[in-house]
Symmetry: C2
Subunit: 167 residues, 2 copies
DNA sequence: GTTATTTTGTAGTTTTGAATAACAATTATA
DNA sequence: TATAATTGTTATTCAAAACTACAAAATAAC
């Protein structure tokens, strides 16, 4: 059912990722090049293109992958927790998780403590997909490390966390 | 976009910027924190929130600002050039520029050489808005510098350009 | 213990950004 | 000259995200 459209979407994403042309533009971007926001966005788009192409055959979007990772590490979280941790709106997380559940990768279990909320878990299939995704992810990170050079990742992560921090 | 809806959108953006809660989440994000893509996205969202709030009273989106900057630096560019330099699709740039033109900030002039294309210029009003935006922007960058610490900006820009570079 | 407030998940709508296809006019090339 | 490529454009689609409103359940206040 959704597998057809999912395949198409994955193909689209792959095409977009390989087609996007981020080479140094012929026109000088001038002052923009010194603006952190501009550089940040350009880098984020390039990295996400790589991630999306990387996960294309698993049909996993970055946001979906991050949910799997979180549930793999901390099973039993409730929707609000995961959504808040990832900076996703509660309402939008429902749709996102519905997709994972429909594909049999994760499930909602009702908890005895609180009858409003669900405890979220990966299924067997979800664990398997996560394992494969982690494999691909580590190769992706290795590619980035090659670009960043020795010590680059640590430097970059430290700087980015300073930017993301709320005063 | 009419000026009415623009005002509303600016207000929305401001509200969203101040309302978004990116504090260290209660739930441990674990392995995600070591992934460059995740850190990059979190930082980009935080910085863009600041930019959007920063430009709220000018009713300028980051993409619109970048067009003004480019035309301020290199007047007479054609649409394809600007779009390519900013990584925007030709088709989507039309709408973006329509907005600037309707607000009287920029204009299309036909060129004698090539009757297909337009040469793009800022208007007087556009120059003024750009000047005010640059003012705000430099304060924004100063805020980021305070977060990044001495030498942080140079390090960060160097690392980000490595990531954005097409092999 | 009842009332008020907060939390949680949900549905539906809207906005935004970006991708894509198709097209006409013009220019470049074979 | 015939063919191909470029430029701007319109319209459609899609995915992310934001917002509102709501019902059920838990918690706090009284």
């Amino acid at each position: 059912m959704s597998s057809n459209t999912d395949k198409r979407k994955a193909a689209q994403a792959l095409a977009a990722a390989t087609a996007r042309d981020v080479r140094t533009p012929a026109v000088e971007v001038g002052p923009l090049a010194n603006m952190v926001g501009y550089a940040l966005r350009r880098a984020q788009l390039a990295v996400f293109d790589d991630v999306i192409a990387n996960f294309a055959d698993l049909e996993l979007r970055p946001a979906q992958y991050s949910v799997l990772v979180l549930l793999g590490k901390s099973p039993g979280l409730k929707q609000s927790d995961v959504a808040a941790a990832l900076g996703i709106q509660r309402a939008n997380f429902v749709v996102l998780f519905d997709g994972l559940e429909r594909r049999g990768l994760a499930r909602r279990l009702s908890t005895p403590n609180d009858r409003r909320s669900y405890a979220l878990y990966l299924t067997e299939a979800g664990e398997k997909v996560l394992a494969r995704a982690n494999e691909l992810e580590s190769r992706h990170e290795a590619r980035l490390d090659a670009k960043l050079g020795p010590g680059g990742r640590e430097q970059l992560l430290a700087l980015l966390s300073k930017l993301a921090a709320r005063d």
